[in-house]
């Protein structure tokens, strides 16, 4: 086999396994993504999507395998602010007493001093990020007073302010309004052009066809991985969802 230059891959996960106290959540999973690629992560609830994200961010430790981010360890990716995680709306406490500005500023924490005092450049990055997601009118709005779509955009702005080259998005389209969906899809195109790599989990098959160059179907391990046009077939999807036919999952028109 020829030698591979790992620097070429933004994400390179090789045979990774994750288990929680002996219970296997993910095994022998592989994923390679280059700059500018958008990959959909599709699977049932409990199939290991969140676990996969957690492994890439270093939130859980892998028990086997190897992860390289831009050719380096997850630890150094954390230090370099390489990966941004955009949580599911359900994954955060929306009643937390914090404003849009404060949340987006958290994207800068990793590169600030220990007291987290914002510098001029941090303030500018936060301003720009909020402008890109069209929330300038809501700078000091508590996140509890935002709609689901606005809240999603707030966390996208945090990822933008972080200036990460890899974005992990957990259900970015769940529970958002049409306007937010349009804005997110425009941002995806911009991110792609900027050479960012995006991995997003979704339940919506239409979004996979629309946005994703690649798709990773998982059910505790990789069921299929490759170009969306080749891999995203009814047979593969049926296998991923444990034998339930795609017609049943998303209507006869697909």
């Amino acid at each position: 086999m020829e030698t591979i230059n790992y620097q070429n891959f933004r994400i390179d996960a090789e045979n990774i396994c994750v288990d929680y106290n002996g219970k296997v959540a993910l095994y022998d999973a592989n994923l390679r993504l280059k700059p500018g690629q958008i990959c959909g992560l599709v699977g049932m609830n409990g199939a290991g999507k969140t676990t996969f994200f957690n492994a890439l961010t270093g939130f859980v430790n892998i028990s086997k395998g190897k992860i390289r981010i831009n050719g380096e360890s997850v630890r150094s990716a954390q230090k370099d602010q390489t990966i941004a995680y955009v949580p599911q709306n359900e994954g955060i406490d929306s009643q937390f007493p914090i404003s849009v500005w404060d949340v987006v500023m958290m994207g800068r924490y990793g590169s600030m001093n220990i007291f987290r005092c914002p510098r001029e450049s941090d303030v500018q990055a936060v301003k720009d990020a909020i402008e890109r997601v069209d929330l300038t009118d809501h700078l000091s709005t508590p996140i509890g007073n935002l709609s689901g779509g606005q809240r999603k955009r707030t966390f996208l702005a945090r990822a933008i302010a972080q200036r990460a080259s890899i974005l992990l998005l957990d259900e970015p389209f769940a529970g958002v309004d049409i306007r937010t969906e349009k804005l997110i899809s425009e941002l995806f195109i911009q991110f792609k052009n900027e050479g960012k790599t995006i991995l997003l989990s979704t339940h919506d098959m239409i979004h996979v066809r629309e946005f994703c160059d690649l798709v990773l179907l998982i059910n505790k391990t990789v069921v299929a991985y490759g170009e969306t046009s080749e891999v995203f077939t009814p047979e593969n999807i049926t296998t991923t969802f444990g034998g339930i036919s795609p017609d049943f999952l998303f209507g006869p028109e697909s």
Partner: protein, 290 residues
Amino acid sequence: MELCSFLTLDSFITDPLTHGFMRKALLMSSLVAAVCGFLSSYLTLKGWALMGDAVSHSVMPGVVVAYALGLPFSLGAFIFGVGSVALIGFIKQKSRVKEDTVIGLVFTGFFALGIVLVSKIKSNIDLHSILFGSPLGISLSDVKQTIFISLLVVILLSIFRKDLMLYCFDPRHAKTVGINVFFLHYLLLTCLSLAAVVGLQSVGIILVVAMLITPGATAYLLTDKFDNMTVISVLSAIISSLIGIYISFWFDLETGGSIVLAQTFIFLFAFLFAPRYGILKLKNFFAGYK
């Protein structure tokens, strides 16, 4: 004024101040309240009320052993406070028993151990003051220790204020950008144990959890800004301490209980009348809303 000293607000406040023990009690309780109130914001947002209860009860055997050995009581309390949390984590991980059950059984176990130790050791330990607090009878060495611990906790919380907020809000993001979440977790636990130690002098082990959660809960109803929440929490804690001590002085009531009752009443007041989050929704009432 001297004739009906009780009835004028002026002497209601100044008379107790002529007693040295009252001045000391008011000062120390305010300090302790401020520390607990500061921490309270984090505990309520993190959802650690039960953890606060567990740690504060678990320090009991530590306090008893430290007294018996002549060590600083804070040291013993700290070891048992953090130890209880470690034990809770261990049992939870290694068994199928649910977390709240594990917390409940561990802290009652520690607490029972403390009570048994008191009856066995029978030294000069005053069980009543440990259980119910004794802000009026605090000794000089306790004063020094309390000031030291309070300053330590305030400094730690001030330095890591924003990181702890991030840790409570979104630990996954914190980890992703390379912030040491493990350290923050144990920092918060350490502060919790230390605050429980100083708080128990004011209101005792049984009620100290109120000092750690009620001010934060009150503040949470009154604001949508984290910094304001901390300030309101600290102020409401201090005010309740002062009210509690005065009330207990004039009406000869248990001091710890009075302080906590004052906190509870302030919470109920916020629960009813908080502009946005009170059940009466006064903001809508006055403004017609939008």
